[in-house]
């Protein structure tokens, strides 16, 4: 078959994503029934590959998609699909070239991360929380989405998601979450 893909299902057999309801992510790409939907395996692998978050961190959670590529993480019971207002919390934006974790997810689960975490001094953290972009030439890790963190009460604590390109860290903290501290 000309259009046979790695997941075994041809494009024509897959349903279109319904943006009005939550659908649970399939375990693997091979079990996919909705076109373009990320699998649980791909999401967990992404968090492990990019940030070093151990996959078992998510053993008790399910992942859901609503809208185009917006992924939610949930710890409770629910059938799929389900039409409600929210299920757990948004965690990741897929269906684009670079997947982008949410600031709220990073604050909740980022403590498990070991890679792509940029540790900020207090004044840098203050600017990050206020939503400001800043030049941080000293970073020699990966470019792209990073977990910004700082030390609070003697321990590292994630602040949110930042985008690092060309020596600059751009704060991705959503407007409503920005604070002047």
């Amino acid at each position: 078959m000309a259009d046979e893909r790695a997941d075994g299902a041809s494009e024509g057999e897959l349903e279109q994503n319904d943006g009005q309801q939550f659908g649970r992510l399939p375990e693997t790409a091979a079990e996919r029934t909705v076109e373009g939907r990320a699998s649980r395996e791909a999401v967990v692998d992404y968090f492990a590959d990019r940030f070093g978050i151990p996959p078992e961190t998510f053993d008790d959670y399910t992942f859901w998609e609503k809208g185009a590529g917006k992924i939610w993480i949930y710890g409770g019971d629910a059938p799929s699909p389900i039409s409600i207002e929210a299920i757990g919390m948004t965690c990741l934006r897929t269906r684009q070239e670079h997947w982008k974790p949410t600031t709220d997810f990073v604050q909740r689960f980022g403590r498990h991360a070991s890679d792509c975490v940029i540790d900020l001094e207090r004044e840098e953290a203050r600017r990050f929380a206020a939503g400001e972009d800043q030049d941080l030439e000293w970073w020699n890790g990966d470019w792209g989405y990073l977990i910004a963190a700082h030390e609070i009460a003697g321990e590292r604590e994630p602040l949110g998601i930042g985008l690092y390109v060309h020596g600059e860290l751009r704060s991705m903290v959503p407007k409503g979450r920005q604070r002047d501290l």
């Binding site: 710890g75 019971d77 709220d104 909740r108 604070r179 002047d180 501290l181």
Partner: protein, 302 residues
């Protein structure tokens, strides 16, 4: 303050009550244990020089000495959530356990729903419902900021709430923190009594009765329903519980509360209520220097 005169016969030290109602309320926050231990949150507050006092009855409730409790690192990180001290009472009385299915039927803006999730170690299912779509955005914002992954948010009228959308057909516990005339918030909202009328109380009581009845029906036998309001009016408190006792299979049960309070009423004007209503709690502003609140705990008996 005029409308509050009707409570002179039922409130001990009524002058102290009125004086407390005139005083503005201080800032309180609840430590969100989904994201931080009490020790870490208080250490973080100390690090940034914020003065606080821990509530005797609940170590997770802190009285903050600041004009802007939302502009602290603990708030940015979701370690703390601004929540009036008495508003932290109903989830503690409901006392949910990890893994249970819990319904918060009037949940926005989410302070109590996220507190329920925290009491359950964010494990289990908290269905946070509200009939007001506008307020649901505040609920969602707070749930995400506080990192509550066990919340499922719905937008419906609690009075005819359907569980068909879920794969379970009853809850273990339900919180009815009912919409009310809000007399007890006078210290926070000085205009709380501006539109006060007995007609308003009577119409809101009708809604409260409908919500509480549905809550009892949706909760399993042996399960718990907590009914609370932030108002003093017996028509919205004891009378609503009495209505539920008459119509549904339930009984009022006792609970421990580490805050000074008065017992629920068994008489008001021409009405009398079941003696078991003495086990409900009326929290008046002068008793603990808080807002006013009413809480009753019910057990579902069939």
């Amino acid at each position: 303050m005029e409308p509050l005169e009707r409570y002179r016969p039922i409130i001990d030290d009524f002058e102290a009550f009125l004086a407390a109602c005139e005083r503005p309320l201080g800032n309180a926050v609840r430590v969100n244990t989904i994201k931080s231990s009490v020790e870490r949150a208080t250490a973080a507050l100390e690090e940034e020089g914020a003065e606080y006092e821990q509530a005797d009855w609940n170590p997770r409730v802190l009285r903050l000495e600041t004009d802007s409790p939302g502009s602290t690192w603990t708030s940015f990180h979701g370690f703390t959530h601004g929540q009036e001290e008495v508003s932290a009472v109903p989830p503690v009385v409901l006392d949910p356990e990890p893994g249970e299915r819990v319904w918060d039927c009037c949940a926005a803006p989410g302070g109590k729903a996220t507190q329920l999730a925290a009491l359950m170690d964010d494990r289990g299912t908290v269905v946070a419902n509200d009939n007001n779509l506008g307020r649901i955005s505040a609920l969602r914002f707070n749930a995400e900021r506080l990192g509550a992954t066990s919340l499922a948010v719905t937008n419906d009228d609690a009075r005819n709430y359907s569980l068909e959308r879920f794969d379970f057909d009853e809850f273990d516990r339900t919180l009815v923190d009912a919409p009310c005339s809000c007399e007890g918030t006078i210290r926070k909202n000085p205009d709380a009594l501006d539109n006060w009328s007995e007609g308003h109380i009577s119409s809101v009581a009708g809604i409260q009765k409908g919500i509480l009845r549905r809550a009892i029906q949706a909760t399993r036998e042996g399960g718990t329903v907590v009914y609370s309001t932030c108002t003093f009016a017996p028509e919205e408190n004891e009378a609503v519980v009495q209505h539920a006792l008459n119509r549904e299979d339930c009984r009022v049960v006792d609970f421990d509360l580490g805050l000074e309070h008065s017992p629920g009423l068994t008489e008001w004007e021409d009405d009398s209520y079941d003696e078991s209503l003495e086990q409900a709690a009326r929290i008046y502003p002068h008793q603990n220097d808080t807002g006013g609140f009413f809480v009753a705990k019910l057990e579902v008996t069939a």
